[in-house]
Protein backbone atom coordinates (compact mmCIF):
# COMPACT_ATOMS: atom_id res chain seq x y z
CA UNK A 1 0.00 0.00 0.00
CA UNK A 2 1.37 3.40 -0.87
CA UNK A 3 1.30 6.30 1.54
CA UNK A 4 -2.39 7.00 1.74
CA UNK A 5 -2.11 10.56 2.95
CA UNK A 6 -0.11 11.63 -0.07
CA UNK A 7 -2.10 9.82 -2.72
CA UNK A 8 -5.10 11.38 -4.42
CA UNK A 9 -8.42 11.38 -2.56
CA UNK A 10 -9.48 8.06 -3.93
CA UNK A 11 -6.90 5.44 -4.69
CA UNK A 12 -7.71 3.98 -8.07
CA UNK A 13 -8.27 0.40 -7.13
CA UNK A 14 -9.87 -1.88 -9.58
CA UNK A 15 -13.61 -1.97 -9.15
CA UNK A 16 -14.96 -5.19 -7.65
CA UNK A 17 -16.48 -6.26 -10.96
CA UNK A 18 -13.39 -5.68 -13.05
CA UNK A 19 -11.22 -7.40 -10.45
CA UNK A 20 -13.67 -10.28 -10.57
CA UNK A 21 -13.44 -10.53 -14.37
CA UNK A 22 -9.68 -10.31 -14.30
CA UNK A 23 -9.46 -13.29 -11.96
CA UNK A 24 -12.26 -15.14 -13.71
CA UNK A 25 -10.63 -14.74 -17.10
CA UNK A 26 -7.42 -16.39 -15.92
CA UNK A 27 -9.29 -19.41 -14.57
CA UNK A 28 -9.41 -21.94 -17.39
CA UNK A 29 -11.82 -24.44 -15.84
CA UNK A 30 -14.25 -21.67 -14.89
CA UNK A 31 -14.25 -20.54 -18.50
CA UNK A 32 -14.96 -24.04 -19.78
CA UNK A 33 -17.79 -24.32 -17.26
CA UNK A 34 -19.10 -20.93 -18.30
CA UNK A 35 -19.04 -21.99 -21.96
CA UNK A 36 -20.88 -25.28 -21.32
CA UNK A 37 -23.51 -23.60 -19.15
CA UNK A 38 -23.89 -20.88 -21.80
CA UNK A 39 -24.52 -23.39 -24.58
CA UNK A 40 -26.92 -25.30 -22.34
CA UNK A 41 -28.85 -22.14 -21.48
CA UNK A 42 -29.01 -21.28 -25.17
CA UNK A 43 -30.69 -24.60 -25.94
CA UNK A 44 -32.98 -24.26 -22.94
CA UNK A 45 -34.09 -20.86 -24.20
CA UNK A 46 -34.21 -21.40 -27.96
CA UNK A 47 -34.63 -25.20 -28.22
CA UNK A 48 -37.91 -25.16 -30.17
CA UNK A 49 -36.33 -22.99 -32.88
CA UNK A 50 -33.12 -24.96 -33.31
CA UNK A 51 -34.35 -28.56 -32.87
CA UNK A 52 -34.58 -30.26 -36.26
CA UNK A 53 -37.66 -32.41 -35.46
CA UNK A 54 -40.70 -32.58 -33.23
CA UNK A 55 -39.49 -34.33 -30.04
CA UNK A 56 -42.76 -36.19 -29.59
CA UNK A 57 -43.51 -37.27 -33.14
CA UNK A 58 -41.98 -40.64 -33.98
CA UNK A 59 -41.92 -42.68 -37.10
CA UNK A 60 -42.11 -46.41 -36.62
CA UNK A 61 -40.25 -46.96 -39.88
CA UNK A 62 -37.24 -45.26 -38.31
CA UNK A 63 -37.14 -47.14 -34.98
CA UNK A 64 -33.73 -47.32 -33.29
CA UNK A 65 -31.97 -45.84 -36.31
CA UNK A 66 -28.26 -45.29 -35.66
CA UNK A 67 -26.75 -41.80 -36.00
CA UNK A 68 -26.80 -40.60 -39.60
CA UNK A 69 -26.79 -37.34 -41.53
CA UNK A 70 -30.57 -37.30 -41.28
CA UNK A 71 -30.74 -38.06 -37.53
CA UNK A 72 -27.44 -36.85 -36.09
CA UNK A 73 -27.80 -38.78 -32.84
CA UNK A 74 -30.10 -41.49 -34.15
CA UNK A 75 -33.66 -42.28 -33.08
CA UNK A 76 -35.22 -44.07 -30.14
CA UNK A 77 -37.51 -47.10 -29.87
CA UNK A 78 -40.51 -45.33 -31.38
CA UNK A 79 -38.51 -43.46 -33.98
CA UNK A 80 -38.23 -40.04 -32.29
CA UNK A 81 -35.16 -37.94 -33.07
CA UNK A 82 -32.82 -38.15 -30.06
CA UNK A 83 -31.07 -34.83 -30.79
CA UNK A 84 -34.41 -32.98 -30.81
CA UNK A 85 -35.45 -34.70 -27.60
CA UNK A 86 -32.17 -33.76 -25.92
CA UNK A 87 -32.57 -30.15 -27.04
CA UNK A 88 -36.15 -29.96 -25.75
CA UNK A 89 -35.04 -31.79 -22.62
CA UNK A 90 -32.63 -28.96 -21.84
CA UNK A 91 -35.62 -26.74 -21.19
CA UNK A 92 -37.39 -29.34 -19.06
CA UNK A 93 -34.35 -29.90 -16.89
CA UNK A 94 -33.65 -26.18 -16.66
CA UNK A 95 -37.15 -25.43 -15.40
CA UNK A 96 -36.82 -28.17 -12.76
CA UNK A 97 -33.33 -27.04 -11.80
CA UNK A 98 -34.00 -23.31 -11.61
CA UNK A 99 -37.28 -23.65 -9.72
CA UNK A 100 -35.98 -26.25 -7.31
CA UNK A 101 -32.80 -24.30 -6.55
CA UNK A 102 -34.88 -21.14 -6.10
CA UNK A 103 -37.10 -22.96 -3.59
CA UNK A 104 -34.07 -24.32 -1.75
CA UNK A 105 -32.35 -20.92 -1.80
CA UNK A 106 -35.30 -18.92 -0.50
CA UNK A 107 -36.39 -21.34 2.25
CA UNK A 108 -32.83 -22.26 3.17
CA UNK A 109 -31.58 -18.69 3.40
CA UNK A 110 -34.62 -17.69 5.42
CA UNK A 111 -34.04 -20.51 7.92
CA UNK A 112 -30.29 -19.90 8.04
CA UNK A 113 -30.54 -16.14 8.49
CA UNK A 114 -33.26 -16.32 11.14
CA UNK A 115 -31.37 -19.05 13.05
CA UNK A 116 -27.99 -17.35 12.74
CA UNK A 117 -29.20 -13.86 13.56
CA UNK A 118 -31.53 -14.58 16.46
CA UNK A 119 -29.65 -17.58 17.87
CA UNK A 120 -30.79 -19.24 21.07
CA UNK A 121 -33.77 -21.57 21.12
CA UNK A 122 -35.01 -20.55 17.63
CA UNK A 123 -31.64 -21.45 16.15
CA UNK A 124 -31.53 -24.76 18.03
CA UNK A 125 -34.96 -25.81 16.77
CA UNK A 126 -34.26 -24.81 13.16
CA UNK A 127 -30.86 -26.46 13.10
CA UNK A 128 -32.18 -29.71 14.56
CA UNK A 129 -34.73 -29.84 11.72
CA UNK A 130 -31.91 -29.24 9.24
CA UNK A 131 -29.81 -31.94 10.92
CA UNK A 132 -32.65 -34.42 10.53
CA UNK A 133 -32.84 -33.62 6.82
CA UNK A 134 -29.08 -33.95 6.46
CA UNK A 135 -29.13 -37.31 8.19
CA UNK A 136 -30.74 -38.85 5.11
CA UNK A 137 -28.56 -39.48 2.08
CA UNK A 138 -29.87 -36.80 -0.28
CA UNK A 139 -31.22 -39.13 -2.97
CA UNK A 140 -33.19 -41.09 -0.34
CA UNK A 141 -34.64 -37.86 0.95
CA UNK A 142 -35.73 -36.91 -2.56
CA UNK A 143 -37.17 -40.38 -3.18
CA UNK A 144 -38.98 -40.22 0.14
CA UNK A 145 -40.55 -36.86 -0.69
CA UNK A 146 -41.60 -38.04 -4.16
CA UNK A 147 -42.94 -41.26 -2.67
CA UNK A 148 -45.07 -39.20 -0.33
CA UNK A 149 -46.26 -36.76 -2.98
CA UNK A 150 -46.43 -39.11 -5.96
CA UNK A 151 -44.40 -38.92 -9.16
CA UNK A 152 -44.64 -36.08 -11.65
CA UNK A 153 -42.95 -32.95 -12.97
CA UNK A 154 -44.19 -30.65 -10.21
CA UNK A 155 -43.40 -33.07 -7.40
CA UNK A 156 -39.85 -33.55 -8.64
CA UNK A 157 -39.39 -29.80 -8.30
CA UNK A 158 -40.77 -29.82 -4.76
CA UNK A 159 -38.65 -32.83 -3.78
CA UNK A 160 -35.36 -31.55 -5.20
CA UNK A 161 -36.15 -28.07 -3.89
CA UNK A 162 -36.76 -29.25 -0.34
CA UNK A 163 -33.71 -31.44 -0.31
CA UNK A 164 -31.61 -28.40 -1.23
CA UNK A 165 -32.84 -26.46 1.80
CA UNK A 166 -30.26 -27.76 4.35
CA UNK A 167 -27.22 -26.80 2.27
CA UNK A 168 -28.41 -23.23 1.77
CA UNK A 169 -29.54 -22.95 5.38
CA UNK A 170 -26.14 -23.98 6.71
CA UNK A 171 -24.22 -21.65 4.42
CA UNK A 172 -26.49 -18.70 5.17
CA UNK A 173 -26.30 -19.39 8.89
CA UNK A 174 -22.51 -19.67 8.87
CA UNK A 175 -22.20 -16.38 6.98
CA UNK A 176 -24.58 -14.57 9.29
CA UNK A 177 -22.86 -15.93 12.39
CA UNK A 178 -19.51 -14.55 11.30
CA UNK A 179 -20.89 -11.31 9.83
CA UNK A 180 -22.99 -10.30 12.81
CA UNK A 181 -19.87 -10.03 14.97
CA UNK A 182 -18.21 -7.72 12.46
CA UNK A 183 -17.73 -4.09 13.36
CA UNK A 184 -19.79 -2.70 10.48
CA UNK A 185 -22.85 -4.56 11.73
CA UNK A 186 -22.25 -3.23 15.23
CA UNK A 187 -21.86 0.24 13.71
CA UNK A 188 -25.17 -0.24 11.89
CA UNK A 189 -26.86 -1.09 15.19
CA UNK A 190 -25.23 1.98 16.70
CA UNK A 191 -26.72 4.21 14.01
CA UNK A 192 -30.18 2.91 14.80
CA UNK A 193 -30.78 0.54 11.87
CA UNK A 194 -33.73 -1.84 12.26
CA UNK A 195 -33.36 -5.61 12.36
CA UNK A 196 -34.90 -5.87 8.90
CA UNK A 197 -32.44 -3.35 7.43
CA UNK A 198 -29.50 -5.03 9.14
CA UNK A 199 -30.45 -8.35 7.59
CA UNK A 200 -31.33 -7.04 4.14
CA UNK A 201 -28.67 -4.34 3.73
CA UNK A 202 -25.76 -5.68 5.77
CA UNK A 203 -25.97 -9.43 6.28
CA UNK A 204 -27.48 -10.73 3.03
CA UNK A 205 -25.47 -8.66 0.52
CA UNK A 206 -22.27 -9.71 2.29
CA UNK A 207 -23.24 -13.40 2.16
CA UNK A 208 -23.82 -13.29 -1.57
CA UNK A 209 -20.53 -14.82 -2.70
CA UNK A 210 -20.82 -18.18 -0.89
CA UNK A 211 -24.52 -18.37 -1.77
CA UNK A 212 -23.78 -17.79 -5.45
CA UNK A 213 -21.20 -20.56 -5.46
CA UNK A 214 -23.60 -22.91 -3.71
CA UNK A 215 -26.40 -22.00 -6.14
CA UNK A 216 -24.25 -22.97 -9.10
CA UNK A 217 -23.01 -26.19 -7.55
CA UNK A 218 -26.52 -27.04 -6.42
CA UNK A 219 -27.77 -26.75 -10.00
CA UNK A 220 -25.76 -29.78 -11.00
CA UNK A 221 -26.86 -31.80 -7.95
CA UNK A 222 -30.51 -31.03 -8.64
CA UNK A 223 -30.13 -31.86 -12.33
CA UNK A 224 -28.57 -35.18 -11.47
CA UNK A 225 -31.13 -35.99 -8.79
CA UNK A 226 -34.08 -35.03 -10.99
CA UNK A 227 -32.65 -37.23 -13.75
CA UNK A 228 -32.18 -40.05 -11.26
CA UNK A 229 -35.78 -39.75 -10.07
CA UNK A 230 -37.01 -39.83 -13.66
CA UNK A 231 -34.72 -42.76 -14.38
CA UNK A 232 -36.38 -44.63 -11.51
CA UNK A 233 -39.77 -43.75 -12.92
CA UNK A 234 -40.54 -41.42 -10.02
CA UNK A 235 -40.03 -38.18 -11.85
CA UNK A 236 -41.10 -36.64 -15.11
CA UNK A 237 -43.32 -39.10 -16.99
CA UNK A 238 -43.08 -40.08 -20.65
CA UNK A 239 -43.48 -38.83 -23.29
CA UNK A 240 -41.98 -35.58 -21.91
CA UNK A 241 -38.38 -35.45 -23.17
CA UNK A 242 -36.47 -35.59 -19.89
CA UNK A 243 -32.87 -36.79 -19.93
CA UNK A 244 -33.18 -39.18 -17.01
CA UNK A 245 -36.34 -40.72 -18.44
CA UNK A 246 -34.68 -41.03 -21.88
CA UNK A 247 -31.73 -42.78 -20.31
CA UNK A 248 -34.02 -45.18 -18.50
CA UNK A 249 -35.91 -45.90 -21.71
CA UNK A 250 -32.69 -46.49 -23.65
CA UNK A 251 -31.46 -48.97 -21.07
CA UNK A 252 -33.61 -51.69 -22.62
CA UNK A 253 -31.87 -51.36 -25.99
CA UNK A 254 -28.36 -50.79 -24.75
CA UNK A 255 -27.09 -53.97 -26.40
CA UNK A 256 -28.66 -53.40 -29.83
CA UNK A 257 -28.81 -49.59 -30.02
CA UNK A 258 -26.42 -48.10 -27.47
CA UNK A 259 -26.88 -44.53 -28.81
CA UNK A 260 -30.40 -44.35 -27.32
CA UNK A 261 -29.03 -44.39 -23.77
CA UNK A 262 -25.57 -42.94 -24.42
CA UNK A 263 -26.47 -39.48 -25.70
CA UNK A 264 -28.92 -38.47 -22.97
CA UNK A 265 -26.38 -39.76 -20.44
CA UNK A 266 -23.67 -37.73 -22.11
CA UNK A 267 -25.88 -34.63 -22.01
CA UNK A 268 -26.41 -35.06 -18.25
CA UNK A 269 -22.70 -35.68 -17.76
CA UNK A 270 -21.57 -32.62 -19.71
CA UNK A 271 -24.03 -30.21 -18.10
CA UNK A 272 -23.25 -31.47 -14.59
CA UNK A 273 -19.53 -31.05 -15.30
CA UNK A 274 -20.23 -27.58 -16.68
CA UNK A 275 -22.04 -26.37 -13.57
CA UNK A 276 -19.41 -27.93 -11.30
CA UNK A 277 -16.56 -26.26 -13.16
CA UNK A 278 -18.39 -22.94 -13.10
CA UNK A 279 -19.17 -23.29 -9.39
CA UNK A 280 -15.59 -24.17 -8.51
CA UNK A 281 -14.36 -21.31 -10.66
CA UNK A 282 -16.73 -18.88 -8.95
CA UNK A 283 -15.55 -20.09 -5.58
CA UNK A 284 -11.94 -19.49 -6.55
CA UNK A 285 -12.70 -16.01 -7.83
CA UNK A 286 -15.13 -14.92 -5.13
CA UNK A 287 -13.53 -16.40 -2.04
CA UNK A 288 -11.95 -13.50 -0.17
CA UNK A 289 -9.23 -15.76 1.21
CA UNK A 290 -7.99 -16.27 -2.35
CA UNK A 291 -7.60 -12.50 -2.86
CA UNK A 292 -4.14 -11.15 -2.39
Amino acid sequence: MTDASLSPAVRRHQRPMSAFWRRFSTNRSAQIGFLIVGVYLFFAAFGPWVAPYDPLAGSLRMRLAPPSTEFWLGTDDIGRDILSRIIYGARVSFIIMATAVAIGLVIGVLIGVVGGYFGGIIDSILMRIIDVMLAFPSIFLAIGIVAALGPGFFNVIVATGLFSVPQFARIARASVLSLKEREFVEAAHASGESTFNIISLYLLPNSLAPLMVQTTLRMSTVLLTAAALSFLGLGVQPPTPEWGAMLSNGRTYVMIAPHVATYPGLAIFIVVIGFNLLGDGLRDTLDPRMKQ
Binding site: E183, S191, G192, L201
Partner: protein, 327 residues
Protein backbone atom coordinates in the same frame (compact mmCIF):
# COMPACT_ATOMS: atom_id res chain seq x y z
CA UNK B 1 -21.12 24.20 33.17
CA UNK B 2 -23.60 23.97 36.01
CA UNK B 3 -26.52 23.08 33.74
CA UNK B 4 -28.24 19.70 33.64
CA UNK B 5 -25.91 16.92 32.45
CA UNK B 6 -26.62 15.61 28.96
CA UNK B 7 -25.84 12.05 29.97
CA UNK B 8 -25.93 10.89 33.54
CA UNK B 9 -24.84 7.37 34.40
CA UNK B 10 -25.36 6.13 37.96
CA UNK B 11 -24.05 2.91 39.47
CA UNK B 12 -23.91 1.11 36.10
CA UNK B 13 -23.43 -2.65 36.42
CA UNK B 14 -22.77 -4.67 33.29
CA UNK B 15 -21.97 -8.34 33.53
CA UNK B 16 -21.03 -11.11 31.14
CA UNK B 17 -21.61 -14.77 31.76
CA UNK B 18 -18.94 -17.16 30.59
CA UNK B 19 -18.74 -20.84 31.52
CA UNK B 20 -21.04 -20.22 34.45
CA UNK B 21 -18.79 -17.46 35.80
CA UNK B 22 -20.13 -13.94 36.16
CA UNK B 23 -17.66 -11.36 34.89
CA UNK B 24 -18.29 -7.91 36.28
CA UNK B 25 -17.04 -5.91 33.30
CA UNK B 26 -18.50 -2.67 34.60
CA UNK B 27 -19.16 -2.48 38.31
CA UNK B 28 -20.78 0.59 39.81
CA UNK B 29 -19.69 3.24 37.33
CA UNK B 30 -21.16 6.72 37.74
CA UNK B 31 -20.39 9.84 35.73
CA UNK B 32 -22.01 12.82 34.03
CA UNK B 33 -21.33 14.16 30.60
CA UNK B 34 -22.02 17.89 30.66
CA UNK B 35 -23.37 19.66 27.59
CA UNK B 36 -20.62 20.90 25.31
CA UNK B 37 -17.71 19.17 27.01
CA UNK B 38 -15.32 16.49 25.84
CA UNK B 39 -15.08 13.83 28.51
CA UNK B 40 -12.30 11.31 28.10
CA UNK B 41 -12.40 7.78 29.46
CA UNK B 42 -8.97 6.25 29.82
CA UNK B 43 -7.93 2.84 30.99
CA UNK B 44 -6.13 -0.26 29.79
CA UNK B 45 -7.73 -3.06 27.78
CA UNK B 46 -10.45 -4.78 29.74
CA UNK B 47 -10.98 -1.88 32.14
CA UNK B 48 -14.58 -1.53 31.01
CA UNK B 49 -14.32 1.62 28.82
CA UNK B 50 -15.93 0.16 25.74
CA UNK B 51 -18.45 -1.87 27.73
CA UNK B 52 -19.53 1.35 29.41
CA UNK B 53 -20.08 2.96 26.01
CA UNK B 54 -21.96 -0.04 24.63
CA UNK B 55 -24.11 -0.17 27.76
CA UNK B 56 -25.12 3.45 27.19
CA UNK B 57 -26.02 2.61 23.60
CA UNK B 58 -28.00 -0.45 24.70
CA UNK B 59 -25.80 -2.61 22.50
CA UNK B 60 -24.48 -5.16 24.98
CA UNK B 61 -25.12 -8.48 23.23
CA UNK B 62 -27.30 -10.83 25.26
CA UNK B 63 -26.17 -13.60 25.58
CA UNK B 64 -23.55 -13.34 27.05
CA UNK B 65 -23.73 -9.78 28.39
CA UNK B 66 -26.34 -7.73 30.20
CA UNK B 67 -26.75 -4.45 32.03
CA UNK B 68 -27.94 -5.62 35.42
CA UNK B 69 -28.15 -2.43 37.43
CA UNK B 70 -27.92 1.33 37.56
CA UNK B 71 -29.51 4.08 35.55
CA UNK B 72 -28.58 5.76 32.28
CA UNK B 73 -30.31 9.11 31.90
CA UNK B 74 -29.96 10.88 28.55
CA UNK B 75 -31.61 14.28 28.20
CA UNK B 76 -33.68 13.45 31.26
CA UNK B 77 -34.96 10.13 29.93
CA UNK B 78 -34.03 6.73 31.31
CA UNK B 79 -32.53 4.76 28.44
CA UNK B 80 -32.78 1.47 30.33
CA UNK B 81 -36.56 1.82 30.42
CA UNK B 82 -36.81 2.22 26.65
CA UNK B 83 -37.86 -0.52 24.25
CA UNK B 84 -35.59 -1.63 21.41
CA UNK B 85 -37.70 0.37 18.95
CA UNK B 86 -37.37 3.52 21.09
CA UNK B 87 -33.62 2.92 21.48
CA UNK B 88 -33.24 2.77 17.71
CA UNK B 89 -34.40 6.37 17.55
CA UNK B 90 -31.90 7.39 20.23
CA UNK B 91 -29.04 5.61 18.48
CA UNK B 92 -27.65 7.72 15.69
CA UNK B 93 -29.89 10.75 16.18
CA UNK B 94 -29.43 11.16 19.94
CA UNK B 95 -26.16 9.38 20.62
CA UNK B 96 -23.93 8.52 17.70
CA UNK B 97 -20.90 6.30 17.90
CA UNK B 98 -17.63 6.16 15.99
CA UNK B 99 -15.62 2.96 16.21
CA UNK B 100 -11.99 2.02 16.46
CA UNK B 101 -11.27 0.40 13.12
CA UNK B 102 -12.67 2.49 10.26
CA UNK B 103 -11.74 -0.07 7.62
CA UNK B 104 -14.16 -2.61 9.06
CA UNK B 105 -16.83 -0.22 10.30
CA UNK B 106 -18.48 0.35 6.93
CA UNK B 107 -20.52 -2.07 4.87
CA UNK B 108 -18.07 -3.38 2.26
CA UNK B 109 -20.63 -3.93 -0.51
CA UNK B 110 -22.16 -0.47 -0.88
CA UNK B 111 -20.67 2.82 -2.03
CA UNK B 112 -19.93 5.47 0.61
CA UNK B 113 -22.60 7.79 -0.76
CA UNK B 114 -25.27 5.09 -0.69
CA UNK B 115 -24.50 4.21 2.92
CA UNK B 116 -24.47 7.82 4.10
CA UNK B 117 -27.70 8.63 2.27
CA UNK B 118 -29.42 5.56 3.68
CA UNK B 119 -28.53 6.37 7.29
CA UNK B 120 -29.42 10.05 6.92
CA UNK B 121 -32.84 9.15 5.49
CA UNK B 122 -33.37 6.77 8.38
CA UNK B 123 -33.21 9.57 10.95
CA UNK B 124 -34.03 12.81 9.18
CA UNK B 125 -37.09 13.52 7.10
CA UNK B 126 -35.33 14.06 3.81
CA UNK B 127 -35.74 12.94 0.25
CA UNK B 128 -32.99 10.87 -1.30
CA UNK B 129 -31.66 13.90 -3.17
CA UNK B 130 -31.63 16.07 -0.04
CA UNK B 131 -29.96 13.33 1.99
CA UNK B 132 -27.34 12.89 -0.70
CA UNK B 133 -26.71 16.65 -0.70
CA UNK B 134 -26.39 16.59 3.08
CA UNK B 135 -23.90 13.71 2.86
CA UNK B 136 -21.86 15.68 0.37
CA UNK B 137 -21.81 18.82 2.49
CA UNK B 138 -20.86 16.83 5.62
CA UNK B 139 -17.95 15.25 3.73
CA UNK B 140 -16.93 18.75 2.83
CA UNK B 141 -17.12 19.77 6.50
CA UNK B 142 -14.69 17.03 7.50
CA UNK B 143 -12.25 18.33 4.88
CA UNK B 144 -12.57 15.63 2.28
CA UNK B 145 -11.23 17.18 -0.87
CA UNK B 146 -13.40 15.51 -3.48
CA UNK B 147 -16.71 14.56 -1.86
CA UNK B 148 -18.18 13.44 -5.19
CA UNK B 149 -15.44 10.94 -5.85
CA UNK B 150 -15.47 9.66 -2.28
CA UNK B 151 -19.23 9.17 -2.39
CA UNK B 152 -18.97 6.95 -5.44
CA UNK B 153 -16.12 4.93 -3.92
CA UNK B 154 -16.36 1.66 -2.05
CA UNK B 155 -14.91 1.58 1.49
CA UNK B 156 -11.94 -0.57 0.47
CA UNK B 157 -10.83 2.13 -1.97
CA UNK B 158 -10.19 4.66 0.80
CA UNK B 159 -7.40 4.93 3.36
CA UNK B 160 -8.07 4.42 7.07
CA UNK B 161 -7.81 8.11 7.93
CA UNK B 162 -10.15 9.00 5.09
CA UNK B 163 -12.67 6.36 6.21
CA UNK B 164 -12.59 7.65 9.77
CA UNK B 165 -13.47 11.11 8.44
CA UNK B 166 -16.29 9.54 6.46
CA UNK B 167 -17.55 7.76 9.58
CA UNK B 168 -17.46 11.00 11.55
CA UNK B 169 -19.25 12.83 8.73
CA UNK B 170 -21.88 10.10 8.55
CA UNK B 171 -22.56 10.21 12.28
CA UNK B 172 -22.59 14.01 12.50
CA UNK B 173 -25.00 14.21 9.57
CA UNK B 174 -27.55 12.71 11.95
CA UNK B 175 -27.09 15.77 14.21
CA UNK B 176 -26.54 13.76 17.40
CA UNK B 177 -26.43 15.53 20.77
CA UNK B 178 -23.69 13.20 21.99
CA UNK B 179 -20.90 11.56 20.05
CA UNK B 180 -19.25 8.53 21.58
CA UNK B 181 -15.86 7.94 20.01
CA UNK B 182 -14.47 4.52 20.95
CA UNK B 183 -10.72 4.68 20.33
CA UNK B 184 -11.28 6.34 16.94
CA UNK B 185 -7.58 6.98 16.36
CA UNK B 186 -6.01 3.83 17.77
CA UNK B 187 -5.87 2.05 14.42
CA UNK B 188 -4.44 5.04 12.56
CA UNK B 189 -0.87 6.18 12.26
CA UNK B 190 0.30 9.14 14.28
CA UNK B 191 0.04 11.92 11.68
CA UNK B 192 -3.45 10.84 10.66
CA UNK B 193 -4.35 10.51 14.33
CA UNK B 194 -3.46 14.16 14.91
CA UNK B 195 -5.61 15.22 11.95
CA UNK B 196 -8.61 13.29 13.27
CA UNK B 197 -8.20 14.73 16.77
CA UNK B 198 -7.98 18.24 15.35
CA UNK B 199 -11.10 17.52 13.33
CA UNK B 200 -13.05 16.32 16.37
CA UNK B 201 -11.97 19.41 18.31
CA UNK B 202 -13.01 21.62 15.41
CA UNK B 203 -16.41 19.96 14.97
CA UNK B 204 -16.90 20.15 18.72
CA UNK B 205 -16.47 23.92 18.52
CA UNK B 206 -18.50 24.30 15.34
CA UNK B 207 -21.49 22.12 16.24
CA UNK B 208 -21.28 22.62 20.00
CA UNK B 209 -20.91 18.87 20.08
CA UNK B 210 -20.66 16.93 23.29
CA UNK B 211 -18.14 14.09 23.04
CA UNK B 212 -17.42 11.03 25.13
CA UNK B 213 -13.95 10.03 24.00
CA UNK B 214 -12.61 6.60 24.88
CA UNK B 215 -8.91 5.87 24.57
CA UNK B 216 -6.03 4.12 26.25
CA UNK B 217 -3.69 6.92 25.20
CA UNK B 218 -3.13 9.66 27.80
CA UNK B 219 -1.46 11.81 25.16
CA UNK B 220 -4.72 11.93 23.23
CA UNK B 221 -6.60 12.83 26.42
CA UNK B 222 -4.23 15.70 27.08
CA UNK B 223 -4.71 17.12 23.60
CA UNK B 224 -8.44 16.81 23.37
CA UNK B 225 -10.42 16.49 26.56
CA UNK B 226 -11.88 18.87 29.13
CA UNK B 227 -12.33 16.27 31.82
CA UNK B 228 -11.09 12.74 32.17
CA UNK B 229 -12.31 9.62 33.90
CA UNK B 230 -9.78 6.89 34.69
CA UNK B 231 -11.11 3.35 34.80
CA UNK B 232 -9.51 0.32 36.32
CA UNK B 233 -10.97 -3.22 36.49
CA UNK B 234 -14.50 -2.09 35.70
CA UNK B 235 -14.62 0.82 38.14
CA UNK B 236 -13.90 4.54 38.10
CA UNK B 237 -10.73 5.29 40.05
CA UNK B 238 -10.36 8.99 39.32
CA UNK B 239 -12.47 11.71 37.72
CA UNK B 240 -10.85 15.06 37.19
CA UNK B 241 -10.39 18.10 34.96
CA UNK B 242 -7.68 17.25 32.48
CA UNK B 243 -5.08 19.71 33.83
CA UNK B 244 -5.49 18.52 37.38
CA UNK B 245 -5.06 14.92 36.31
CA UNK B 246 -1.73 15.60 34.67
CA UNK B 247 -0.46 18.02 37.33
CA UNK B 248 -1.72 16.35 40.48
CA UNK B 249 -2.88 12.78 39.86
CA UNK B 250 -4.46 11.53 43.04
CA UNK B 251 -4.83 7.79 42.55
CA UNK B 252 -1.75 5.56 42.58
CA UNK B 253 -2.96 3.86 39.41
CA UNK B 254 -3.26 7.15 37.56
CA UNK B 255 0.24 8.07 38.66
CA UNK B 256 1.63 4.80 37.41
CA UNK B 257 -0.27 5.18 34.18
CA UNK B 258 1.27 8.62 33.68
CA UNK B 259 4.68 7.24 34.48
CA UNK B 260 4.23 4.51 31.91
CA UNK B 261 3.79 6.98 29.04
CA UNK B 262 7.05 6.83 27.06
CA UNK B 263 8.87 10.11 27.13
CA UNK B 264 10.81 11.51 24.22
CA UNK B 265 12.91 13.71 26.50
CA UNK B 266 13.83 11.13 29.09
CA UNK B 267 15.08 8.26 27.00
CA UNK B 268 16.85 6.40 29.78
CA UNK B 269 13.79 5.34 31.73
CA UNK B 270 11.26 4.75 29.01
CA UNK B 271 8.98 1.74 28.59
CA UNK B 272 7.96 1.37 32.16
CA UNK B 273 5.11 -0.96 32.93
CA UNK B 274 2.97 -1.53 35.99
CA UNK B 275 3.97 -4.66 37.88
CA UNK B 276 1.30 -7.27 38.51
CA UNK B 277 -1.96 -8.02 36.79
CA UNK B 278 -5.49 -6.71 36.69
CA UNK B 279 -7.61 -8.78 39.12
CA UNK B 280 -9.92 -11.46 37.75
CA UNK B 281 -13.20 -9.70 37.01
CA UNK B 282 -15.12 -12.86 37.90
CA UNK B 283 -13.45 -13.13 41.29
CA UNK B 284 -12.86 -9.62 42.56
CA UNK B 285 -11.25 -9.01 45.93
CA UNK B 286 -13.44 -7.35 48.56
CA UNK B 287 -11.11 -4.37 48.89
CA UNK B 288 -9.39 -1.97 46.53
CA UNK B 289 -8.90 -3.52 43.09
CA UNK B 290 -5.49 -1.99 42.70
CA UNK B 291 -4.30 -3.36 46.06
CA UNK B 292 -1.94 -6.02 44.67
CA UNK B 293 -0.14 -3.56 42.41
CA UNK B 294 -0.13 -0.54 44.70
CA UNK B 295 3.07 0.79 46.31
CA UNK B 296 1.15 2.75 48.91
CA UNK B 297 -1.29 0.14 50.07
CA UNK B 298 -2.63 0.29 53.60
CA UNK B 299 -4.07 -2.54 55.70
CA UNK B 300 -7.54 -1.02 55.40
CA UNK B 301 -7.41 -1.13 51.57
CA UNK B 302 -7.89 -4.86 51.73
CA UNK B 303 -11.13 -4.74 53.61
CA UNK B 304 -13.44 -2.52 51.61
CA UNK B 305 -13.48 -0.66 48.33
CA UNK B 306 -12.63 2.97 49.09
CA UNK B 307 -15.22 5.60 48.18
CA UNK B 308 -14.61 8.24 45.58
CA UNK B 309 -13.30 11.12 47.67
CA UNK B 310 -13.03 14.74 46.77
CA UNK B 311 -9.40 15.73 46.38
CA UNK B 312 -9.76 19.05 44.64
CA UNK B 313 -12.06 21.26 42.65
CA UNK B 314 -14.25 18.93 40.53
CA UNK B 315 -11.71 16.20 41.22
CA UNK B 316 -12.40 12.85 42.94
CA UNK B 317 -10.33 9.71 43.44
CA UNK B 318 -11.08 6.26 44.81
CA UNK B 319 -8.24 6.03 47.31
CA UNK B 320 -7.94 6.19 51.07
CA UNK B 321 -4.83 8.33 50.91
CA UNK B 322 -5.45 10.90 48.24
CA UNK B 323 -4.17 13.80 50.31
CA UNK B 324 -0.99 11.98 51.22
CA UNK B 325 0.00 11.76 47.60
CA UNK B 326 1.71 14.70 46.11
CA UNK B 327 2.89 14.83 42.55
Amino acid sequence: MSSQPLLSVRDLQTQFVSDGRVIKAVDGVSFDVRPGEILGIVGESGSGKSVTALSVMGLIPWPPGRVVGGSIMFEGEDLRAKTQAQMRRVRGAGIAMVFQEPRTAMNPVFRIGEQMTEVIMLHRKMSRAEASGEARSMLDRVHIAEPGRVMSAYPFELSGGMLQRVMIAMELALRPRLLIADEPTTALDVTIQAQILRLIRELHDEFDLTVLFITHDLGVIAQLCDRVMVMYAGAVVELSPVDALFHSPAHPYTRKLLAAVPSVVDTRNTLRSIAGDVPDLADLPPGCRFYDRCDLRQPECRLAIPDLRKVGEDHTARCVLPNAISP
